[in-house]
Symmetry: C2
Subunit: 159 residues, 2 copies
């Protein structure tokens, strides 16, 4: 699968915010993103997995560091309205993405990425994909190490 | 934000598989995608949120319906090796994506999408984003209703 990866991208301007146990019923996500959009908070990633038993699930999104304080204030002020249990911020993350063209399956590209990170002891906190990308959030201190390992893993090192 | 949405895409060829409580330590994801890649299983979405206490998190991915049975067999056979607690499949989903160009923030586009679905009582099971897309998994029975509501919400209806 290595021939399909065209590059590695990253963004340090990502502050991760997780809302735990958001009620898993229609309208819950809209109820949260309404105010965020009204306040013009710059949201990049949005990740939500299925709910386990209990009808609630965690919702994670990233905002630019410039909008972090405003986002946190909004979320704290409206916690009971939004219905989440805990507010878990983490500003020490970096988003790293592998960009592939024509990936029929993401399995091979994802494997190479996950293995390269694992081999350096880097824990993968969040995973999100699109047609042309596999993106992860990892601890920001690993930025250079991750980029170097990924370039090598995909054969993208300068000749 | 409506002017930046260029279209709505969807895929019914998505079988959702959730592995609950995958150990949240380096190597866990690689350990799962290695065999999936070796078996040439066609993986589309991969979504993982942060772990709550307990050092484990849920990992959800979708495979093509043609690969569902093979994927399930592989996962069942290797459950103890992969370390997850439960295997939760769901073939009755559709992936619906809003495609936007030049979205500075995803908040507005996501809000419109989430609200359109909420207004029709459609529950959002999984959310994943990329630079140009906000994608959700919803129950497959809502496909037409979701597409119609989203086209209207973004002003994409035929004139
Ligand atoms: C959790 C949240 O996404 C909820 N399921 C909703 O549809 O809004
Ligand atoms: C859960 C899984 O992603 C794990 N954190 C890993 O790095 O492999």
């Amino acid at each position: 699968e290595q021939e399909v990866v065209s590059g590695i991208a990253y963004s340090r301007d990502e502050a991760k915010i997780t809302l735990t146990r958001v009620p898993d019923r229609p309208g819950a996500a809209a109820g949260i993103f309404g105010p965020l959009a009204d306040e013009h908070i710059n949201v990049d990633m949005i990740v939500q997995n299925v709910s386990a038993e209990g009808g609630a699930t965690d919702l994670t999104f990233t905002v630019t560091r410039a909008d972090f304080d405003r986002a946190m204030k909004l979320l704290r002020d409206r916690q009971s309205e939004f219905g989440f249990e805990e507010l878990r911020p983490d500003q020490d993350v970096v988003k790293v993405s592998v960009i592939g063209v024509g990936m029929r399956s993401h399995a091979g590209v994802a494997l190479t990425m996950f293995k390269a990170l694992a081999d350096k002891g880097i824990n993968i906190q969040v995973i999100s994909t699109s047609e042309i990308k596999v993106s992860v959030l990892i601890a920001e201190e690993y930025t250079e190490l991750a980029l170097r390992s990924l370039h090598t893993a995909y054969g993208l090192d300068a000749a």
